[in-house]
Symmetry: C2
Subunit: 196 residues, 2 copies
């Protein structure tokens, strides 16, 4: 950030009075420009036991597989955002059945909220951001071709819970930055499970 | 938003190529300025059966009672944000025991995430944004003096779950805008409960 979006003057980085963090501040019109984390809302879409994944047609991670998810927009609920992304990326309508994954990724200031969902009618179709969409049995998940650590972590926990057969308790965690990129991309995540 | 925060040129409101929503776009440096919902993270701090509330020393809702909560900052997890806000506003250290309330407020593009927490040592003290902090038994909650509908909704569900004695399943909901401000401020919320 270089300029004030309100008045166009240059901004400076300083701690405002009464605050304890550096912010971009406009000393011309006194606007403080706060920057906050973004929510990525998405879905684990299930149909007859299989999970719908999308092969990315965009960077980053072009050609790798992911769950339908994207930035939540102003004016919608988190559930609406998850359903919208599933429709946009996978052409699928889902009924949300619960929140499953809540993962903070502090080094990129994102919060993932991944809902369990059931396809309404089994129909799906690759959207413009997907090369292909496909339903996968657990044994066919392309574990080494998943786009993001948070997707791998979520699917790993999801199948584990499904095998255990005792429901899907909310999974909370933090995805930490790798010291260096691992070829196989296994995430480090701190685990937490809500037991109500 | 009037000016591009990157280059200082005027921005225009239009739908970028390949998008389906209006964004502030800089036609000088081609930056698209996305605006997304903010997370408000907070806590339902409990100590020996009582709940810690804060009387607001700031606007909006100066002098009304609320749960400690505030905007999540870049570089932290949602749990860290909830603990930080509880320490800043109520001078209390809490151990997080689970996520309880997840409420979208689409008309102001906010998402509340309210965690259950237990005071570590029973100590608390009003922070600079609070006039006073106090532990309340359920029967003493100042229902007509609560600052925000989302706080009233969360506490109502929380005490209901506690009386029922079957744990605290995640509460999801949407806080909708009032046609006009009701004096008693009862929120309209669509309810949802995750059962795992």
């Amino acid at each position: 950030m270089n300029y004030c979006s309100n008045c166009g003057a240059s901004v400076v980085l300083r701690i405002p009075d009464g605050d304890n963090r550096e912010r971009y501040v406009c000393e011309h019109c006194d606007t403080i420009h706060y920057q906050n984390p973004k929510i990525v809302a998405g879905c684990i879409p299930e149909w007859e036991g299989r999970i719908l994944l999308c092969k990315r047609a965009i960077e980053p991670r072009y050609g790798l597989w992911t769950l339908p998810a994207g930035f939540m927009e102003n004016g919608e609920t988190t559930e609406q955002a998850a359903m919208r992304e599933t429709e946009e990326e996978a052409g699928a309508r889902v009924e949300i059945t619960g929140l499953y994954g809540l993962f903070s990724i502090p080094h990129i200031s994102q919060v993932y909220m991944l809902y369990r969902g059931t396809l309404v009618d089994g129909a799906f179709e690759a959207g413009v951001e997907s090369l292909e969409c496909r339903l996968f049995d657990e044994g066919d998940i392309p574990w080494e071709q998943l786009a993001f650590p948070v997707v791998k972590e979520t699917l790993k926990r999801y199948f584990s819970d499904r095998r255990r057969g005792k429901g899907f308790p909310l999974q909370r965690g933090e995805i930490v930055k790798h010291p260096r990129r691992e070829p196989a991309g296994s995430p480090q995540a701190t685990a937490s499970e809500d037991r109500g």
